[in-house]
Amino acid sequence: MNQEPVSQEHDDSSELQAKAGRDVSHLAGKYLTFFLAGEQFGIEITKIREILGVLDITPVPQTADFLLGVINLRGKVIPVMDLRLRFNQEYREPDERTCIIVVEVTKDDGRRILMSMVVDQVNEVLNVSAADIDATPAFGTNLDTAFIMGMAKTQGGVKILLDVDRIVQESRLVVG
């Protein structure tokens, strides 16, 4: 008797996966969650190098609007993008809760890129199990679904799991 609902649930999720046409089980793991423009997002903890408070940003000419500039991370110069602007949300002046998340992604050719992102507020580190993850819905959020790996249903609400690799690699920082 006890086992039935479990298997039911399992069937449900695999059905969903089939509908979405992709498997999300590999997405299970630890995520850093944060707030951005009223929504909650998650980034795989393995991609995150560190979290900083707001620091002095030097603007760089000939770059996209969402690229705020570059910062000095202990002697290394790394770009900072504003995730609000990246997702076409309204700009918000930084306050004491504003954070810069430094991520490191590995490109297809094996080179590693450091990038940092300004978010409204960092929340917590969350363990997300495969059963809690749904594939990306094609609606319900006003951001580009290309950057979403899946949705995690948690007690604190739905968290959008971001595909950091794509955000870093597919954002055109340079204009002109």
């Binding site: 760089v60 000419p61 770059t63 770009p79």
Partner: protein, 756 residues
């Protein structure tokens, strides 16, 4: 006794050579090795070398077992054999003792270990328990798979070999050329011989047969020279250099093949090997002159040795003074000629001399550590941060309010240490330019030979240090310019004689520090640059127009040779003048943020001076302020800064805003417009102008304020911001913020883009 020793030594060397090329299962060669081992065993027995006799007996038994098929794993058997021979060599040189030998025998389960253990000192067991303990493990190891051409370990070994071998080839090249100048230089000869030997050994171990074979042949050639039966002269030098080239190709190919996981392309070395063979065979003819021709700086002079051997000192002195007077023959030969000494005495003395200077060669190695440049860069980053953190602590008002003399002194000490640390870290990136210069010797030699020139290359200031990354990038342009000097600068010997110059031309390569830059000078005493011909050619190739001619200064005209599509060589030669040429040189020098100065006198020669920054890591910058932002301009491209009068400002139809500076009209670039910052001044006569120059073009940059001159460490903005053309990089400023270093060319382009 000493004769026997020599025979043993050469037997061991021969064995080593044979074992390296020994193919598992090749019974023919097994037989050869076996008979040699037999020989060795007999001689060692007679010569009172019990250890070597023991070893050769054991190896013999081992090999017999292999031949009879009692030993299953032939690969391993061969390996044991080659290790055994190596062990024999080291015992022979006195580097290994009975304990080591016993360990070896035990490790391979060869007979004789117990016997040695019994005879050896009691500490033997305690000292070297490892080999014995390893023995069962080694036995248990599975036989290596044969079908797998490259295992990961192999690849690691191979890449290690490639790096090492290429380095060896480089040093061979340098020393071979030294040898060309002084064929008697035993030190140089050894320095050529030894790396060949190493390459041969390792390539054999890695089963790179063709490399092994060629290296072996070259080693033989040099061995002949070492024994004095062959003098290395021009033909042999050519062959060695050709061999180096082929080896380099083969080694690179084996690397490429391994990384692409395909079989190696075999090289045909037959003709080269035939040439080597020929030279070796011709050795006998020169033997008579060669024998007494060895002089060692470290060993006592030959004369002294001969005197101690019973030759009357007067005879030696007389011969020496005759040598000083200009008799170009070696001392030994003179003495033999005079009848003062017997040839055997001279030969004996030479041998003693050789033996005495031999061990010294080993201590010459420079103590160096190879470090990954990434680690070095990280270190540099952290040290830079340390300096900034330190200055921030000192600048803190609370700290400054403390009037403790101890604290002030300690802070001063701290800052001295950090500054010193920074300097040391920076200097770790620097290497002497010597190696790059020495490679040019070969370039000059080859070019001169091909073009029928007689050229001597002189090197000055080889110890001058330059950024390691820079050396690599600088090699190609330097080579191009040196070739160019030999090919186009120096005239043919006939022309030179006709012009009343010495037959042999001179190219001088000099390096020195000047005003925070490294200057590399390439100076030749050739024909000089012909301004008329350059201008005519430039007109013909439409590099300049007739109108440009009026303003064309002397040096500007010379600079035309660096323009794309320019080539003054009437005949396109094999060496230079392949269409691509000096423009590539200019581009690389631009990339290195350097510049070229040319001076030339027709008929007398040409001097190129390439000024490069000391390091790519640091830029000497002019910090300017625009609005709230600071930018850094490379000082090398800043000509002057000034505040113009209002009347000097004008707008020219179709050319935008211009400023008249000392009679010439320069375009005005509003930097705030390019970098997108709100300026505090918009009128040029209230702001400041910085005149910047790039490739002879001058522009005025409008900025708010000049902050000052500062040396900054250049940081890349990273892969993702590579496309930003107006910025060359970032720099951490004194307050910890990032300042942007402007790319002058990018700024000019952006300005043109906005106007057009």
């Amino acid at each position: 006794m000493s004769d026997q020793k020599e025979v043993i030594g050469s037997l061991l060397d021969d064995l080593a050579a044979e074992v390296v090329v020994l193919e598992p299962g090749d019974l023919m060669t097994y037989g050869d090795v076996l008979s040699r081992l037999e020989q060795l065993s007999i001689i060692c027995d007679g010569a009172g070398e019990p250890l070597l006799a023991r070893l050769s007996d054991s190896l013999k038994a081992h090999l017999e077992a292999m031949i009879l098929g009692e030993y299953q794993d032939q690969d391993k058997g061969v390996q044991a054999l080659s290790e055994g021979v190596a062990m024999g060599q080291s015992v022979f040189r006195g580097e290994s003792d009975a304990t080591a030998l016993q360990g070896f025998l035990a490790a391979y389960n060869m007979p004789g270990a117990e016997e040695l253990a019994a005879g050896a000192a009691p500490q033997a067991g305690a000292d070297r328990p490892a080999p014995a303990a390893e023995a069962p493990e080694a036995e248990a190891a599975p036989p290596p798979a044969e079908a797998e051409p490259f295992t990961p370990e192999d690849e690691e070994l191979l890449s290690g070999f490639v790096a090492e071998a290429l380095e060896h080839l480089e040093s061979i090249e340098v020393n071979t050329l030294l040898l060309e100048d002084s064929p008697q230089d035993q030190e140089a000869l050894n320095a050529v011989f030894r790396p060949f030997h190493t390459i041969k050994g390792v390539s054999g171990f890695l089963n790179l047969q063709d490399i092994n074979h060629l290296a072996h042949a070259l080693e033989n050639l040099l061995d002949q020279a070492r024994s004095g039966s062959l003098i290395i002269e021009s033909v042999a030098i050519d062959i060695i250099l050709a061999g180096v080239d082929v080896l380099r190709q083969m080694i690179n190919e084996s690397q490429a093949a391994a990384s692409e996981r395909r079989p190696r392309t075999a090289f045909d070395t037959a003709s080269l090997e035939a040439r080597i063979e020929q030279v070796i065979n011709s050795a006998g003819e020169t033997e008579a002159e060669a024998a007494p021709a060895q002089a060692k700086p470290e060993a006592p002079p030959l004369g002294e040795l001969l005197v101690s051997d019973g030759i009357p000192p007067e005879a030696v002195e007389q011969a020496l003074s005759r040598q000083k007077e200009g008799a170009l023959r070696p001392l030994g030969e003179l003495l033999v000629h005079e009848g003062a000494a017997k040839p055997s005495q001279v030969a004996g003395a030479l041998k003693t001399q050789k033996a005495m200077s031999q061990p010294q060669a080993k201590s010459l190695a420079v103590q160096e550590v190879k470090i990954d440049t990434v680690k070095l860069d990280n270190l540099l980053d952290m040290v830079g941060e340390l300096v900034i953190a330190g200055s921030m602590v000192r600048a803190n008002p609370n700290v400054q309010a403390i009037s403790d003399r101890k604290l002030v002194a300690d802070l001063g000490q701290l800052s001295r240490i950090t500054t010193e640390l920074q300097k040391t870290t920076m200097s770790m990136r620097m290497v002497p330019i010597k190696q790059t210069f020495q490679k040019m010797v070969r370039v000059v030699r080859d070019t001169a030979k091909k073009r029928g020139r007689k050229v001597a290359l002189e090197l000055e200031g080889e110890g001058t240090e330059i950024d390691r990354n820079m050396v690599e990038k600088f090699y190609d342009p330097l080579m191009h310019m040196v070739r160019n000097s030999v090919d186009h600068g120096i005239e043919s010997p006939e022309e030179r004689l006709a012009a009343g110059k010495p037959e042999e031309g001179t190219v001088v390569l000099a390096a020195y520090h000047k005003g925070g830059n490294v200057c590399i000078e390439i100076r030749d005493d050739g024909n000089g640059l012909d301004r008329e011909r350059i201008v005519a050619k430039a007109l013909e190739n439409e590099i300049i127009t007739e109108e440009d001619l009026e303003n064309l200064g002397e040096e500007e005209a010379y600079h035309l040779i660096f323009k794309p599509g320019f080539s003054t060589a009437e005949v396109v030669t094999e060496i230079s003048g392949r269409g691509v040429g000096m423009d590539v040189v200019q581009r690389t020098i631009d990339e290195l943020r350097g510049k070229v100065e040319i001076s030339s006198e027709l008929g007398k020669g040409t001097t190129f001076i390439i000024a490069l920054p000391l390091t790519l890591a640091i830029i000497d910058g002019m910090v300017v302020e625009v609005g709230v932002e600071r930018f850094i301009l490379p000082t090398i491209s800043v000509a002057e800064s000034l505040r113009p009068n209002e009347k000097d400002y004008s707008t020219v139809q179709g050319r935008g805003e211009m400023i008249m500076i000392r009679g010439s009209l320069l375009p005005l670039i509003r930097l705030h417009g390019i970098v997108g910052v709100e300026p505090s001044q918009r009128n040029p006569w209230e702001a400041l102008l910085v005149v910047v120059e790039h490739h002879g073009q001058k522009r005025c940059l409008l900025v708010d304020r000049l902050v000052g001159r500062q040396e900054v460490v250049i940081k890349s903005l990273g892969e993702s911001l590579k496309g930003v053309k107006v910025v060359a990089g970032g720099a951490i400023m004194g307050d910890g913020r990032v300042g942007l270093i402007l790319d002058v060319e990018g700024v000019f382009r952006a300005h043109e883009g906005r106007r057009g």
